[in-house]
Every structure is written in C-alpha cells, then in structure tokens.
C-alpha cells in the first residue's frame, strides 16, 4: 500500500475496450455552426452494474438517481456522454430508442419488448463554440453514437482526441479531448477509463509545461520531454492569458470500468475514488463551473476474493483487491486525461482559437504518438 504503482501494465489497447464487452461509439456534429457530439459506452446485452459520483458544482445529468445503490434498477445497458449542456441530454432519447428496438433494458412486462432502458448520462458545456448556440446533440446523434458502438468489434480500438462528446471540449485554454487508458492488475483484473476533458482548470503544470497527470503514468507511457525555456514561455503566453475570456462553464466526464465483479455500492465507492485521478490531472477541478461526474461500471467477469468466514472483519482479501482497483481507477482516469489532451488537435472555435498541447509544445511532444 505504501506506493500506488505496483507491477501494472496497460491492457492491449490501453483503452476502455480492454474491459471485455464494453464498446465505445462516437458521433459528432461539426460545421454549419456546430461543434459538439455524443459518446456512448455500450454494455453487452444484459447490462453491467453501474454507479455514479457527481462532484462538480454545475452538473447536467439524466437518470443518475436510478444508480443510487438503494434504488431499483440493478444494471444498465449503456452510458451516454454528450455535449450541448442541458439541451444535449436530449440525445439520450436516441440511445434509449435504439435499446428499445433491440429489446434491451429493465424488464417491466412479459414480452421481450416490454423494457425500460435506463441510460444514465451526463453532459459537458460547449454551447456556442461552433458559432451557433442552438446546434446541439439531438436524438439522431445519440442514435448514431450507440449504433457506432454496436458496430465496434469487441476489444477494438477507441478513437481519441477531438471526437464524440469531446468535439467541442476545452481544457484550461487548450483544446480538450477524449482520452482513454487501461491497466491490468496482478491477478488479471482490468481497470480502464474514458474521459471527456473539458475542464475549467488546467491539465498542464505551468511550472515546467508538462501534464499534471503524468504523475500516474506507466513506465514509458508518455514519451514527453521537458519543453525548452523558449517553447514553454511562448506556450504560456498562448494558454495562460489572464486577459483571454475563459469559458463560463465546462465539465469533465469519466467512465471507469472493470471486469471485477462489484456490487452497486462497491461501484459507487469506485466512482468516488476515481475522482482523485481528476484531482491529480486537473487543477483546479470540481469547481462551481464544472459538472465533473464519474460513472463506474462492472462487467462482473472476474469474482473478487470472497470474504472468509474465518476473517469476516479486517484486512481481508476482498478489501485488498478492492483497494488495488480503487488506486488503479484513480490512475487510469489521470492517464486518460493526459491522453485526451495529447491526442487533441487545434481547433479554431467561434469563441476563439483552441490550440492543442502538441501545437504549443512541438518539442516536448515530438515523440508522442496517438495509440488508437
């Protein structure tokens, strides 16, 4: 326990899809005043255990109360992340209708089609960044995202950067992006995260110019070098400008997932601890201007060590396994944030230029390659 990084490796894709059964689909709306999108995480049929922890001061969410472990619905078929602030939650309708068409959801009758799909969702603020305040994700875009997810191969690649719900994202004066990461613990449990980085705070340490979240990096994961003095000074002038208008609202969203079998209450704890990854990779975070939200999913493929009847209390194997998963969840969130910022490309928004990290730090990031 003394040090958080045990002998971990990333999964084959270093992505959320390393948790077998989870598929990710994106749909974007770009041009003609639009700069937004939707990302859907689709569970295998029958759903997954899910939980949520909302820590930002300005959240926009749907169906999160259903995830309270005290409430009825035990599993969900999908999670939706959207742009478009409160309006963008309308996109979830397209995910719900697709699930209904496929007879997937909480059963409420005798017939297969008698289901209610509960699709927990959260949204980021990106209104007006494409130029038209009224261009937001709608049901058609949501349906396109879930269809894209369903079309993915199992354990396939996950597109990152300026895609899906992160299409219009900003992160502390830089272009934000969608990032993902995974790790495999000793014993074989996989923990992974997908993050839409759209933070009021910064992902970059102004002292030194490297991403904060590198503190959680796996060996060799981020082949960045400290930027030269000149490169850093020039970059600071671009993204740390006290006179530049800051976005009034933001929000970072994450989905963390594991193949370990968690109860809903255990998934709730996992979502909470995963916020520590946001804290390590974004500064400040959980502000009043962010609706920072973490969903936690458990596919249940791997059973945790059982609590022994001989040691019903204390530091048992189950608690040890959970603790390793918790620490890994915080770290994969931090690492996914770094990948999201590094994968993003510059975008000229209606609200002003959004330079990418790689464009401002070409020397520091010269050896970084997108993995998807």
């Amino acid at each position: 326990m003394a040090v958080a990084t045990p002998h971990m490796t990333a999964g084959p894709r270093n992505a959320l899809s390393d948790v077998a059964g989870l598929r990710v689909g994106h749909a974007s709306m770009v041009g003609d005043g639009a700069l937004t999108g939707v990302t859907v995480v689709l569970a295998p049929p029958g759903g997954v255990v899910a939980a949520v922890d909302v820590r930002g001061g300005g959240p926009g969410t749907r169906e999160t109360d259903a995830l309270d472990p005290r409430n009825l619905v035990p599993r969900v078929e999908a999670i939706a992340l959207t742009g478009g602030s409160a309006y963008g939650l309308d996109a979830v309708a397209g995910v719900v209708s697709w699930l209904e068409d496929h007879e997937r959801g909480f059963p409420v009758g005798e017939l297969p089609h008698e289901v209610v799909p509960v699709v927990p969702a959260a949204t980021i603020f990106d209104l007006g960044r494409g130029g038209d305040f009224r261009k937001r994700p709608d049901a058609a875009l949501g349906r396109a995202a879930v269809e894209a997810a369903a079309a993915e191969e199992e354990c396939g690649p996950v597109a990152t950067g300026v895609v899906g719900a992160a299409t219009g994202a900003l992160a502390g004066g830089l272009k934000g992006g969608l990032g993902t990461a995974s790790c495999v613990l000793e014993g074989g449990v996989t923990v992974a995260a997908l993050v839409v980085v759209n933070a009021a705070g910064s992902a970059i340490d102004p002292v030194g110019g490297l991403p904060y979240g590198m503190v959680a990096a796996l060996p060799g994961e981020f082949p960045l070098v400290p930027p030269s003095h000149n490169e850093h000074a020039a970059a600071l002038g671009r993204f740390v400008d006290a006179d530049a208008p800051q976005p009034p609202l933001n929000t970072t969203l994450a989905v963390v997932a594991t193949d370990a079998a968690l109860t809903r209450a255990q998934a709730h704890k996992l979502a909470g601890v995963a916020h520590d990854g946001m804290a390590r990779a974004l500064r400040p975070v959980h502000t009043l201007y962010d609706g920072d939200t973490v969903f936690a999913l458990s596919t249940g493929a791997r059973l945790l060590p059982a609590v022994s009847s001989e040691t019903p209390y204390g530091v048992n194997a189950e608690a040890a396994a959970l603790s390793a998963i918790h620490a890994a969840a915080a770290d994969v969130v931090a690492r996914a944030i770094v990948h999201g910022v590094l994968a993003a490309e510059s975008v000229d928004m209606a609200t002003g230029p959004a330079p990418s990290y790689r464009s401002l730090y070409p020397g520091a990031a010269a050896r970084y390659r997108r993995t998807d």
Copy 2:
C-alpha cells in the same frame, strides 16, 4: 481559471491560526505503551459555520450528521481530531465538558449554562503503535487539548510534526505528522488548513523522491532539492519495502478554514473540494483502509460579493470568489500535508521503526526548516 495558482501568498504564520479567531491546541500521550494524542481547533465564542465531507472507506467520526446543512445546529465551538481509532472518540467528552463549563454550545434553555456543545470529531488509527493496544486518548486528554487551544494567543504559532493527533501517525512507511499552511487571496480572504497525515498511501513520489504535494507549493515554500541517486535508492529501500508490514488501518484528517462568510452548504462544498488536495499529496488516498475526512470552517469575518439582482444567474462575483476559495482550499491541504511530513521526526514505534522524511533524505531536505 486556466491556472490554479494566482498571486497568492501565505498568511503571517502559514498556519490555520491565520484565520483570525481559530486556535489550535495539542495534547499527547507518549510512553508507557502510549503513542497517541488529540488536537482541538477552538472557534471564538459563538462558534463558526462548519461542514464535513467523509471520503475514506474506514471512517471513525462523531457528530458529523449534525453538520448536514439540512439539520439544526448552525455553528460549532470546536472540532476535535484524535488518535485511538473508535476508542479515541471518547476524548471528545473532555472537550464537550470544557465547553459546558464555559457555557459555550447550542442553547437549549433560558440559562447560560443550558447549552449542548456539538463537537464534531474524527479519529485516526494508531492503535498499538506505542506498544499497548489499550492506551488511547481519553476525556482528560481531550480536555488538555482544548485548554491548550484556549491558552493560545490569537494568530499564534501552531506546533507541527509529531504532536497532538499526529503523535502516532504514519504515512506510507514514513513517520506521519501534523502540518498546516495558509494563503491569502487577492482581496484579502484567508484560507488555511491543518492536516493529520496518517495515510495508507504515500506522500512521496517514488519517481524522484520528492513529496507529491509540492505541485501546490507557493514559490520558495519548500526549499527541497531532488535527492541524489544514492540517497533516493537508499531511502526507497527503507520506506518502500514490499515485505514490510503495512498498517492495516490509517486515516488522514483535515480542517480547512476561511474568514470568508460561507453558508453551511457552501462550507460543505468547500470540504469536498479540499479532498482534492489529499488526492494531489497522497497516492493512493480515500482507500478502504483510510477514514479520510475534511472539516470546513467559516468564521464569517469577510462577506462574499453579493449575487447581483442584475445577474442572479451565471458567472457572478460570488461564484468567482467561491471558486478561488475552493482552489485555495485544495492547495492548502496539499501544502499542509507536505509540511506535516517534513516536520515529522523519526520515531521507533512498537510496530517497527518509522523513519522521517528528513532522516531518509538529509540531502534533499537540508534547507528545510520548520516554521513554527
């Protein structure tokens, strides 16, 4: 908002006592099998607004439900932090009785002595570290701590390191300690923290050997230099030893405070965001083996900018002021954790040696001086 460190300075003491009116008192129980203590934060008569956020998986607390903003008691006279795990909460009785003797508490009758002192408290696990599992803080020790607080001058120094509730503290294989820090925001609001660092996780980055929490440092605050390769390698062998028995339970406790006037709900949000400072300075944190808890206090000496009737929504002056306080709270917690670890001295515990950071990294820490 893009970068979290504005033009901040520490308060005169760089301590919790920089929030005028708050006094800190310690009492320790050392020797004859004991290695534990109590720390009390005493409000000025009439009390302060208070809130709490519990994020650790193994908390030990008292009177925290009374702090729910929906509940009755609007202010508290003191916060108590104790060693001794659940047993150590008995020490709060001594704080309560002292307050009763001084006719301080929630009024429940016509006469001045008819009060009920509500003293929220949380405890760390340090049982057995002095050798005798049964030596824990009691009411007498709690009373000694509150009397010590009452005897302090206003805005006086706060003792740090191996004192009070941190007497038996450990932090990821090192000796833990009590730390404190403060900052003064533009406009004059002070935000300060006091932390009892007793973490299952580590405060020290195994890559490089410097404290994680230095990411939040004020310029020049921690005059550490990167340790030499030899110093770091030798130190790692001492405190990152997979074969060393790790403490089964731990807990980091913090009190954050500001002179800004907060509602109880605003103080609750402050306590939550302050946990981000733990996340930045300790890794992992909020584990099942920690009862990590943050209390937030507001003395109310400085009014926040009012919400304007012309801008009842949106990014108003009040939200901006709160956001600056939130960011500062996370940072003072991280900085206080670093001070706590740096101020601690080595202790030979019954459970094994607990080397201090300074003893393991004499070169890196050569220029660090305790400020109290």
